[in-house]
Symmetry: C2
Subunit: 347 residues, 2 copies
């Protein structure tokens, strides 16, 4: 990996690697003032941005660079999935400390590949899995590592899944299982605590050794899979009345869906598909599972799974009343308000 | 300004303020997983992202918050101008230290408006000037202030101005004048040096008092005007063979244009429209002027100004030869290589 120094060298390397992905709707990619997209007639474009910041969304010492690249992109893809959109183009604005752009020395004379190359490995592998080209972005030197992802997707006109369409009587569903990402993060944190010595509480970037046998437990946190295919099925079939992705935690995200739809909701604790190894608390408030939360009319038949994702009915939408919490959690013993306790910045 | 705390309160305030701007092509704005755009048939969409980072692109102690918001957005608008695109939608990913989101105490008991509100003043005033809605984005707590701007514009199919279309024999033009931003930045830096005392080398955010009489000198740096209207004229009239915006400095940007077009260029030093108060060096390498650099066939009549922007012929495109620099500067005394000495990250 002949790491040509400077912004131009970096740009050239990224452009080379981005070339591998074609995209019918992308007329002009990296290299000009803007990229050019050619939407098909009858299509709307869905646009989302997701900011990932060192120390907030990832830790350089804990997270493998490949995971940081993967997770940054997964957040944006998941927003497209939640709208039922097909990914069309990716933009990446990357601010990095200089040392992450050059080979790092690893003891003796061995030099490892630059951090950014491994970040791109994870980023571009996920982009390739969804056949979506990296079409542009920006690059800057920064004391702190930051990555802003822009995703553009296409959806047939009027077919996009919104947060605002849920109606009283609708049933509430989730894809996959919940709490796996939070459980994985807790395991990663304990691994990091065990590995740290008092003299060096946080190691250099990507230094935490992750034992192979932990791969499966950490995967929901390190390498979440956005639910693009289920989202396309929901939108294409006109099955869902509302949808969003579970990024901040069910308790917080469901409250947003209720606010946007002007409804209330009830969640059945016993019905929740809690991820193996996760707790009910992690399933309710954990966040970053990137599963889809959606509502459908009770007359619509929702299969037990589609496009590889299990589907589980976890509750229902009800009329909002002053005497009733916005979101209630129903257990064998009680029915109580489920307060939003997921992720909130500046809280 | 009742500053509701937390991410949700902030989002609500931004959403309220963003509501004032309509956009025919924007079907769904802030509040869902994605925004939805409805392009018109026969249109292509131009997309650009621009990252602004504290300490790199702006200084919290030097720059008024309104200027930081204005400049962040101006960078993206200028990229659209360079493609000849009409702005359609803006996305803003903002990472901020918590103290910039709450009112700051200013001596005694007087409380000033939160930094973010003044940032939005500058940002939204420029958005309004170009009737472009803020359609979405992301918000995160961050130890460092970062703003990534995404601009989406519309341009008639096949009409976009590219960097790659310049041909030997074409004439080289710029809009407006050059070096004004660099001269303004130098003046701002000397003002900051004069204001600082040894005990407090950098003041709190937005603390540098800028005397009113300096407004005009600093304006090209603090409040640059993107050349949207001239860009639209160039693209609409099919006048230019290539175009880009001058963000990194003429010497660096012209080298990019030559690379993308596979040509060389000659610049006439005497013809350069050097901004009043700026030096030739600042005009050649200064950057951040956000003027347009474009080429046109010699047979095309380019007026002395259009859409409010003076137009000046500053050189010509020539065939690339091994014996010839990619970009040459011609003065009364000599013809010598003009090396790229504008801004480059990781340099």
């Amino acid at each position: 990996m002949p790491a040509q120094p400077g912004e131009l060298g970096l740009l050239r390397r990224i452009r080379e690697r981005a070339k591998d992905f074609g995209g019918a709707r992308l007329r002009l990619g990296i290299g000009d003032d803007c990229a050019l997209l050619k939407p098909r007639s009858g299509e709307e474009l869905a646009v989302t941005t997701d900011l990932s910041i060192e120390g907030r969304h990832f830790r350089l010492d804990w997270h493998p660079p490949e995971s940081i690249g993967h997770r940054a992109l997964a957040r944006g893809l998941s927003d497209l999935a939640a709208m039922g959109a097909r990914p069309v183009a990716i933009f990446l604005s990357l601010g990095l400390p200089r040392e992450l752009t050059v080979p790092a020395s690893r003891g003796r004379s061995a030099m490892s590949r630059p951090w950014i190359d491994r970040f791109l490995d994870g980023f571009l592998a996920l982009a390739e899995a969804f056949k979506t080209p990296l079409a542009g972005g920006d690059l800057a030197e920064s004391p702190l590592a930051v990555a802003d992802i822009v995703l553009i997707g296409a959806v047939a006109r009027g077919r996009a899944l919104l947060r605002s369409g849920a109606r009283p009587g609708d049933l509430l569903y989730v894809t996959g299982s919940l709490g796996g990402a939070a459980a994985g993060l807790a395991r990663l944190a304990s691994l990091a605590r065990d590995a740290s010595r008092p003299a060096a509480p946080s190691g250099p970037p990507g230094s935490l050794r992750i034992p192979e046998e932990l791969g499966q437990i950490l995967a929901p946190h390190l390498y979440p899979r956005p639910r693009i295919a289920p989202g396309l099925r929901l939108a294409g079939g006109g099955l869902a009345t509302a949808a969003m992705d579970l990024s901040d935690g069910l308790s917080t995200d469901l409250a947003h869906l209720c606010d946007e739809s002007g409804v209330a909701a009830e969640v059945d604790a016993a019905a929740l598909p809690v991820h193996a190894g996760a707790t009910l608390e992690q399933a309710l408030h954990g966040g970053e599972d990137y599963e889809l939360l959606f509502t459908a009319a009770p007359t619509v038949r929702i299969p037990r799974s589609f496009a590889g994702a299990p589907l589980t009915q976890v509750g229902r939408i009800v009329r909002p009343r002053k005497s009733r919490p916005r979101v209630a959690l129903i257990t064998a013993e009680s029915k109580a308000a489920l307060e939003p306790r997921g992720w909130e910045h500046f809280a």
